[in-house]
């Protein structure tokens, strides 16, 4: 049975774009069938995409900035990150979220060697390289080399800790607060906290806008 309502047609038309690859068309065919069978509505798909689009690293930056200025919040975040971010009305879908803090002597970096587990609620969609076979293969055996490729050179005495995420356990890195930011507001600080600094492949920006070296 063909369903000729507006939404089904809109999706079919996307699928008919001759530029689309075989697999993109296949995905559209599956979606159209699920809509026709009433298992999902086009509206619901649209709403899900809007929610995905609304998730950006600014959410994570807000959490880190608060941890930088509020020692009690920092303590709660390190003890139970899922509960701590819930205080900010951020609902984490995975069963567990762990915040790992960079210090003078310890640098943390996150990966998912199996697939692409990532704190999406806090950082938005993961970058392509995070999902790449190369990043997943290498960061667990040569973290320093990978970080160097990202332009981050760590002193030999800094311990590097790599956290391998799973569906049940997501991580977020709390980057070090840069020097010279003592006077800054939480909002100004949040602007220094990048996606990559919360993955651990970069440091937070310095107030001058440069990456801290």
């Amino acid at each position: 049975m063909h369903n000729h309502d507006h939404d089904a047609d809109a999706h079919s038309l996307i699928a008919e774009d001759p530029e689309l690859s075989f697999y993109a068309k296949r995905a559209a065919a599956i979606e159209a069938l699920l809509i026709e069978k009433g298992m999902v509505t086009a509206d619901n798909i649209r709403r899900r995409i809007e929610i995905m689009d609304s998730r950006t690293p600014a959410v994570g930056a807000q959490v880190v900035a608060k941890a930088w200025v509020d020692p009690d919040f920092r303590t709660r975040l390190l003890a139970n990150a899922k509960a701590a971010v819930a205080e900010l009305d951020i609902e984490v879908e995975s069963p567990n979220l762990v915040a790992v803090e960079n210090t003078v002597g310890i640098h943390n970096v996150i990966v998912c060697t199996l697939c692409s587990c990532y704190p999406t609620v806090l950082l938005g969609a993961s970058p392509g390289w995070y999902k790449s076979l190369e990043y997943r293969a290498r960061v667990v055996v040569d973290a320093r080399g990978v970080l160097r490729e990202f332009g981050l050179e760590l002193d030999e005495e800094v311990q590097v800790r790599v956290y391998d995420s799973t569906a049940e356990m997501r991580y977020i890195v709390i980057p070090q607060r840069p020097d010279g930011t003592e006077h800054m507001s939480e909002e100004e600080l949040a602007a220094l906290i990048t996606r990559d600094s919360m993955i651990g492949v970069a440091r937070a920006r310095t107030p001058a806008g440069e990456m801290e070296s």
Binding site: A10, H11, S12, L13, I14, A15, E16, D17, P18, L20, S21, Y23, A24, K25, R26, A27, A28, A29, I30, E31, A32, L33, L34, M39, V40, N44, I45, R46, R48, I49, E50, M52, D53, S54, T56, V111, T113, L114, C115, S116, G124, A125, P127, G128, W129, K131, S132, L133, E134, Y135, R136, A137, R138, V140, V141, V146, E149, F150, D164, A167
Partner: protein
């Protein structure tokens, strides 16, 4: 035994391509469809379906192309869709593509699409 997706420590991996690109519309749709299918399969089943992709095929596919295979495999295994109806739908799409021309499609794409906001 370690399978093809279990990449940690693979020694022949090269440089990491750090190019940033927004997700394509079809990739966003696919993510939304997969999350909307939570009643039919869980995340562990989904990953198992990706793991079961034949190794040589796995290497040739993009990240989200693997998702398409996993989604299709699971929906068929769970009896939600059949291979025949997916193939049939593909034929319907292709038949219509051949009858239409690009400018119309570009307009439809925008109407049915969503803006690519910052990720």
């Amino acid at each position: 035994m370690s399978k093809v997706h279990d990449r940690g420590g693979w020694s022949d991996a090269g440089f990491i391509d750090k190019t940033e690109h927004d997700l394509a519309m079809w990739e966003k749709n696919l993510m939304a469809v997969c999350s909307a299918c939570a009643a039919h399969f869980n995340v562990d089943e989904f990953r198992r379906a990706i793991e079961d992709i034949e190794p040589d095929t796995y290497e040739t596919l993009s990240y989200f192309e693997r998702w398409v295979i996993a989604l299709e495999t699971l929906l068929i295994q769970k009896g939600v869709l059949t291979l025949e109806e997916i193939d049939q739908k593909m034929k319907v799409f292709e038949a219509r593509t051949n009858r239409q021309h690009l400018p119309d499609l570009a307009v439809s794409h925008r109407q049915g699409g969503h803006n690519d906001s910052q990720i």
